[in-house]
C-alpha cells in the first residue's frame, strides 16, 4: 500500500525532528501540508489545514498534545503519535492509536501511518468503536 500523495500534517516541537520528518515523508512520497511546533499553532492548523493524516508528538516542549488529538478525532482525521515515553504516555482516550516510538526508522513511521489510515476502513473502525 503506498502512501504516495498522502497529505500529512506534522506536530513536533524539536526543529531537527521536523527536518527529519520532512525528509522521511518526502522519501515516502507524502505531501507535507504543514507543521506546528507549539500547541496553539498546532490546534489552529489542525482545524484549518486540509490533510489525510497527522503525526503528533505526545510532548510539545513539556505540553501534552492531547487537545490536538481530540480536535483531530472530532474531525475524523486519523493520526499517529510519536513519543519517547512509550505506550504508557498515550492519553487515556487514545490508547489504541498507532504509536511510533522515538527514535524512529522510516519503516516504523510508514507502518504507523498506514495503520492510522487503515482506520478509515469500516471493519477496523468497528474494532475500536467501544473505546471510551
Amino acid at each position: 500500500m503506498s502512501l504516495s500523495g498522502t497529505r500529512v500534517f506534522v506536530v513536533e516541537d524539536e526543529a531537527l525532528l521536523v527536518l527529519a520528518l520532512e525528509d522521511l515523508l518526502s522519501d515516502m512520497g507524502c505531501d507535507l501540508v504543514g507543521h506546528a511546533q507549539q500547541l496553539e499553532d498546532a490546534l489552529s492548523k489542525a482545524s484549518a489545514l486540509d490533510f489525510d493524516v497527522a503525526i503528533l508528538d505526545v510532548n510539545l516542549g513539556g505540553v501534552r498534545s492531547d487537545p490536538v488529538g481530540e480536535a483531530l478525532a472530532r474531525r475524523g482525521i486519523p493520526f499517529v503519535f510519536v513519543s519517547g515515553y512509550g505506550e504508557a504516555a498515550l492519553p487515556a482516550g487514545f490508547r489504541d492509536c498507532p504509536l511510533v516510538n522515538k527514535p524512529y526508522a522510516a519503516a516504523s513511521l510508514q507502518a504507523g501511518l498506514l495503520q492510522a489510515l487503515g482506520r478509515r476502513d469500516p471493519n477496523a473502525a468497528a474494532s475500536t468503536a467501544g473505546s471510551p
Binding site: 524539536e14 531537527l16 527536518l19 511546533q37 516542549g61 501534552r64 522515538k102 524512529y104
Partner: protein, 689 residues
Amino acid sequence: MTARAGEAKPAGWPAGVHLLVFALLIAVPLILVTGALLLRAIQLEREQIEGRVSKVLRGIVDELDRDIDRQLAVLTTLATSPTLIAADWPAFYDQAKAGLGGRAYIVLVDRDGRQLVNTYVPYGQAPAMTGDPETVVRMRAASGPVVSDLFVSLVTKQPVYNISIPVLRDGALRYILSIGLTPRDLSELLQNVEPGWTAMIWDAKGRILARSRDHSRFVGTMVPQHLREALQSKVRRATDVDNVGVLAAAETSGLSRWRIAVGVPAGLIDRQVNDSLLFWGGTIVLAAAIMLGLAFVFGREITRPLAGATAAARALGRRQPFDVPASRLREANAVTAALRKAAGDLDESSAALRDSEARLRTAAEAARFGPHEYDVAADVTIRSPQMRRLLGADDAAQKGSFESGIAFVHPDDRAAVRQRKQQILAGTQADYELEYRIQRPDGAVRWVMDRGQVSRDSNLRARRVLGVLIDISQMKAAEQRQRLLFDELNHRVKNTLAIVQSLAQQTLRGNPDPRAFADTFGDRLAALARAHDLLMQEAWQGTPLREIIATALAPFISQGRSIDISGAAITVPAGVTITLSLMLHELASNAAKFGALSVADGRLLISWTVASVAAGEAVELAWVERNGPAVVPPARKGFGTRLFAAGSLQIDGRHELDYAPEGLRCRLNFAVPRPEVRALRAGYVDHKD
C-alpha cells in the same frame, strides 16, 4: 465500714456466726454431759443419804434391843432370887430396890395381876392390881419376855412401859416380874442421830414412846395411820408428825413390837441438791457465757481484720487509696499486704500505661497516623483525634459507621475501597493494607495508607477491626516525582537519540562523502553534547543566553580573536537551549569556514536586547560579521537554512538572514515566556497539597 448502695450483700455467714456455732458445738455437749453428771451426782448423794438413814436406823434398833436385853438380864437375875422363891416379899423388895439403884423400879405381880411388890412406892403401899393388865394377858398366852406398849402408871400417873419376864413354878406361870421404865430413857437413845435428823419410836398401838426432838411434846401421842403405813424399811418421802417433809425409813425391834423410824428433813436434802444444782448450773452458765464472750472477742479479732481487708479490696477496686492498720490475724495481714502490693503494681502499670499512651499519642502525631476501631456487629467506628485531624473532620466524626468512613474516600476511589473493605470483612485474613485517596471536607485530597487487623470469632466472623490511617501524601508525591523524572529521562534520551538520528540524516544529505560527513557530523554531535552540558549545569532549568553563545563559539575562536558579545542577562528555557545552540553552532561553523572567522581581520559582533512584553520577554539577537571575505548567498537550501526555518518556529520567533556582501547578518527574534507561563504550558500535574 458501710456497704455501698447497690452493692449486693455477699453470700455466706460472717466469721462471728461461724465462731459462735463452733463454740456452741463444743459447749452444748459439754453442758449436756455436765448436766447428766450433775443429775447422777445428785442421785448418788440421795442414795448415800438413804444408806446413812438405813444404817443409823439399824444402829438404833440394835441398841434398843441391847438395852431391852440388859433389862431382861436384870430381871432374869432377880427371878432367881431365893427371896422370890421363898415368897419373902419384904426381903425381895429390899433386894430389888438395892439392885436397881433408883433408876427404874421393879413390879412383881401374880398370874392374876395382883401386885406383890412395887419398888416405886414403900413396901406395902403398892396398888392392889397391876397397871399393865395387857402384859398379864400376853404372858398367859405365851410364856416369854414381854415388852409392853405405853401405859399410864398407876403410881406415878406418868406414861411408862414395862419389860417383863414370867416366873414359873413347876412349869406353870406363877408370877410376872416387870421392870418399869420411863420413855425419857429411850429418847436419850435417839440423841445420836445426825444434826437435823429425827428419830422416833412408837408402840404396837401407834403411840409415840420417844422422839429425838420435841420428845415431851409428842410422847404418848398417836402416830397417824398414813404415816405408819408410809414408814417402811425402804427410805421414802413422808410427812413427819410435826408436818415436816422427810425422807424416812422404819424397822421393827426384834425384842418388842415397837417400830423405830429415822428421818432426814427433805428440805435439808433438797437444799443440798439445790446447792449442787445451783453450783454446777451456775458453773455451766458461767462457762457458756465465757465461751460466748471469747467467741465474740476472737470473732472480732478475725472479723475486724477481715473487714479491713475487704474494705481495702473494695477501695482497690475503685482505684482509691486505702490504709489498713496491721492486725493480729496473720492471714488478714497477708491479704492486706498482697492488696497493697497489687495497688502498687497497679499504680506502676497504670503510670506506665499513661506514659505509653502519651508516647503513642506523640508518635501518632509525629508519624501522622490516626488509629481507629470498628465494631462490626454494631457498625460503629471510633476515630481517634489524630484520625479526625487527618480526615479534616470535626469532633462529631468521633463516632461513625462503615459508610460514614467510606464517605471520606475520594469519589474516584470510593467504590473500589468499599468493595475491598467488604471483601476483607467477609474474608478470613487478619491483616489488611490499602492505599487510597481521601477527600477532606475542605476539598483537599490526600493519599492514605489504611492498614489494620481484623479480629474474628471462632466462626471467622469479623468482630472488630483495629486500624491506623497513615498519611502517605508526601511519599506518594515523591513517588510520583520520581516516576515523572524517570519518564522524563526516558523521553529525553529517546528524544536526544531522535535528534542525533535527524542530525545524521541531515548531515548525510549535505555531505555524501564519508570523510566530510564524519567531520561535520562529529562537530554537530559535539555541539549537541556541549548544549547538554549546559543543560546539566543549570539542572535543566534553562540556560543564560551568554553561556549558550560562548559555548557555541568556543571551538571556532582562536587566540586573540576579537568577538563582541553584549546583552542583558537573560535565561533561555531548557526546551530551546539545544535548538538555539545548534543554530548558533551552524552560524559559527559557517563563519569559520566562509565568513568573518575565516580570516584574521574578521570581526564578529553579537548583541541582544531584552524587552518586556505581556507573555514575558522579547529577545532580539543580532549576529553581525565584518571584515570577512565577500559573502555569497548559498545556492541551495542547506541544513543551516532549514534548521533556522524550523528552529525559529520552535523558539516562538522569527529570523532574518541577510547575505550582505560586507558580512553576514542574522537577526533572531524570540520570546522567553515568564516562568509561570512556562509552567502552565508545561501542564505539570502538581500534587502538592
